[in-house]
Symmetry: C2
Subunit: 237 residues, 2 copies
Amino acid sequence: MSCGVLYGVGVGPGDPELITLKGARVLAEADVILAASSTRNDFSLALDIVERHIRPGTPVERMGFPMTRDAAALEAAWAANADLAAGHLLAGRQAVFVTLGDPLTYSTFGYLFRTMRQRRPDLDPDCVRVVPGVTSFATAAAHVGQVLAESGESLTVIPGVKDEAAMRRLLEVTDNVAILKAYRNFPALRRMLTDMGLAGRSVLVTRLGLEGEMVYRDLAEAPENPHYFSLILVRAR
Amino acid sequence: MSCGVLYGVGVGPGDPELITLKGARVLAEADVILAASSTRNDFSLALDIVERHIRPGTPVERMGFPMTRDAAALEAAWAANADLAAGHLLAGRQAVFVTLGDPLTYSTFGYLFRTMRQRRPDLDPDCVRVVPGVTSFATAAAHVGQVLAESGESLTVIPGVKDEAAMRRLLEVTDNVAILKAYRNFPALRRMLTDMGLAGRSVLVTRLGLEGEMVYRDLAEAPENPHYFSLILVRAR
């Protein structure tokens, strides 16, 4: 079955220069841009990067991603998004779904990708392609000036919403940790890291890559409610 | 103390288009390029990417990184490398140390960075900067067409040389795993994953990003001695 191409492009952590050459090229060739309007922050930051690369007049379509735990509502929204993307493909267009960071690492692209495959098993797999991107945790390490992992060490990435028991089990057996989106549960995370004797081995970065970025090498000095773009790097052992 | 700048630049996984715009710009501005000659593969692949971006005639210096477990020999080699890099800085040059993937994720840049800080505590920290890059595991996921991690899941990255007991403990508590450099211990890794009931949830990618790349969705069909650029992605649960 002949078709256009849907690219999932990781535009990197927010700095417009941290998109790849391939990401920039694919954007410049795009007929239409797709972006999840999951949070206003992510959407406008991704779009700011995109606008430097697309041809003037290229349409941008926001894909609704309702902030709900209602599984049926979520599924319906993603089915509609997948059909919209498939429509562009079948019309022979090059559509580019943009996402901060990397498209397969905690990104909404994963949902779109899977839903499309479920709903359109007839689509040639080569019509959907992924351009990987620079992650927030690699960028945080660069800004802090700290190795993420080296030699025989393990590196575990944990979303800040993970339940505490699971997080503790991971912290007990891994060498290095990046806790993403550490904003909502920050007071609980700080308490846990302090309990485990890891507060002194942890660094919090807030407003990563934005105006007013802060690096807290002492968690005790961090604010109770850090910004949405916050993550913690832990050298656990 | 005034100085030039040493950049650690991640040139990405091997595809010359997967370097960032910033990485390409920093290379184009460089007075001198530094690269670890740790393995011939890595060195020549990184250099191939670099040559598309540097100004003609920019010198390239290989930094020896002896393949030995002799700690004193290693330390002496890295001290010499750090002094060489510091010499460029003190002469006011823009030196760029290039590394495949990301400079702070299992890269030789981590050693250089730390050794320089130990030997030259007087250097302004802002004279050493890191440009993050796209990792091999994000690229492998893109090629396989498989989500690395999503939503509340954890993602653990483990070097293939890690001892089996530690690897099993990690596989028991994490949701997704990327086992890097899975070439030397591949038969043992395959046995372990099979034992743990995870062989069917594992994908091996060999010659990642190179001519002849292969994706094995059935580990039983993989060769005993895969290529140096090999990694395994596991959706553990």
